[in-house]
């Protein structure tokens, strides 16, 4: 194992260790309502960022699949979605437990929550679509098309529409909390490393899943040849 190829995994581990320790131990600004739950910034918001990065990887690979018809791009695209959906579920869980204790409800009609729900539904639909087509190449092509379409619509939904309404989220609308300007430098010292750490973790999980899938595929091919 050469260190040159795998250094980023070590970086990922170190950053996550740092995130978990510092995330629970550092002094955080005391905000009304938020109080200590402000630490959820390190574990909830980072999930969504990782998900978006994974979905971006997926859509890029879908575009590459359509232009090259190379099966390995399709495997990357689908495993990136699977990992992204996993991160999305974690984001929903951490978010809704937090919301129960700060907003008083598990789910609210908030622009960002709607965006999250739409994203999850669209990508679960992507997985259903993949399972409903038998033939490998057809499956790859059709799901790539849907992936690109869904990604663009999702960008509109989470990028454009929330700007036209207020949000309950801290730092948005008239809510107590931080925004990009008054986010404490202490918070940033953990938030940015946490962000990079979780994104790297997502990519790492995705790579492992891709390798597993490729082994499965080659085993299946051997079985059919015998």
């Amino acid at each position: 194992m050469e260190i040159k190829k795998h250094w980023w995994k070590i970086v990922c581990m170190l950053l996550l260790f740092y995130t978990i320790m510092a995330g629970f131990l550092i002094e955080v600004p005391r905000m009304p309502i938020l109080n200590e739950t402000i630490r959820n910034l390190f574990f909830h918001v980072t999930m969504w960022f990782s998900m978006i990065v994974l979905l971006l990887i997926s859509v890029i690979n879908s575009i590459r699949y359509l232009s090259s018809q190379n099966q390995s791009h399709d495997i990357t695209a689908s495993e990136a979605v699977n990992t992204g959906v996993f991160f999305g579920i974690l984001g929903l869980l951490t978010g809704s437990v937090w919301a129960r204790y700060t907003w008083g409800a598990w789910w609210t009609n908030d622009a960002q929550l709607n965006g999250a729900a739409v994203t999850m539904l669209a990508y679960l639909a992507y997985i259903v679509l993949r399972n409903s087509i038998e033939e490998e190449q057809k499956k790859a092509r059709i799901s790539a098309v849907y992936n690109i379409f869904a990604f663009v619509m999702m960008l509109v939904f989470i990028g454009v529409l929330p700007r036209m309404t207020d949000s309950l989220h801290p730092g948005k609308g008239g809510n107590p909390g931080f925004n990009t300007y008054d986010m404490d430098s202490q918070l940033r010292m953990v938030f940015y490393p946490a962000l990079i750490g979780f994104i790297l973790l997502g990519i790492w999980i995705m790579q492992l899943k891709i390798r597993l899938k490729k082994i499965e595929n080659s085993k299946q091919n051997e079985a059919t040849h015998c």
């Binding site: 359509l66 259903v128 409903s132 087509i133 059709i142 098309v145 379409f149 509109v156 529409l161």
Partner: protein
């Protein structure tokens, strides 16, 4: 060249529709009976906001039902023959135009039946008509594209809803806001922003359909 093709394909669609008139009548009957179910269950007494959301729910399911068959309507051998002659862009554009016209007619009739039974809540008719027309064009284009995706898989009918509804939500949310504005009597100039968003969404859907459909087409 493309224009001629679209005109020809559109003509084919209309001829086919004329031959299978029961399909259109079926959609109309579907809409009328759904409106009646809504009328019975709400006793025709609703808040304006509920009025708007029920109207769009009916429209949504009616167009999902009407358009899910748009790529499996004809005999597949005839399709193959017809479409070896024309380009995929021509096919998707003509389908979108045709389905837009179809749902346009259906939506106007739905509005008529709905406002007769449920009372007319709209105070700015022009804004409502504008959003009805723009929204229907968007919904029709989206379902046309989605049904071309789902027609390639084995379980067609459920897949249209599963694939279509999540990506439709941005459009629907804007539409419901616009219609709420029209119910409250907001002027067209004040609701301009939402109209632009609706238009932009529709154009995005067209662009995606135009670019991506050739890949679905290649068999």
């Amino acid at each position: 060249m493309l224009l001629k093709e679209i005109k020809y394909l559109l003509w084919q669609e209309l001829k086919l529709e004329n031959r299978q008139r029961f399909a259109f009548n079926g959609i109309l009957l579907y809409v009328i009976s759904t409106v009646y179910v809504v009328y019975i269950s709400t006793k025709g007494d609703t808040q304006p906001q509920t009025w708007v959301s029920l109207f769009w729910l009916i429209m949504l399911f009616a167009s999902a039902n009407a358009l899910q068959k748009s790529f499996v309507r004809e005999n597949s051998n005839r399709y193959l023959y017809l479409y070896t002659l024309s380009s995929p862009q021509g096919v998707i554009i003509s389908k979108i135009i045709y389905n837009g016209m179809l749902t346009g007619v259906v939506s106007l009739l739905t509005w008529l039946v709905y406002s007769v039974l449920m009372g007319d809540a709209v105070s700015n008719k022009w804004l409502f008509l504008c959003s009805l027309w723009l929204g229907n064009t968007g919904i029709a284009s989206l379902f046309t594209f989605i049904s071309s995706i789902s027609s390639k898989s084995s379980q067609n009918s459920t897949l249209v809803a599963v694939l279509g509804f999540p990506v439709l939500l941005p459009l629907l949310l804007t539409l419901i806001r616009l219609c709420n504005a029209s119910v409250m009597g907001v002027s067209v100039a004040d609701a301009q922003n939402y109209l632009y968003v609706l238009l932009a969404l529709t154009v995005i859907i067209w662009a995606m359909a135009y670019l991506l459909f050739p890949y679905l087409w290649r068999e």
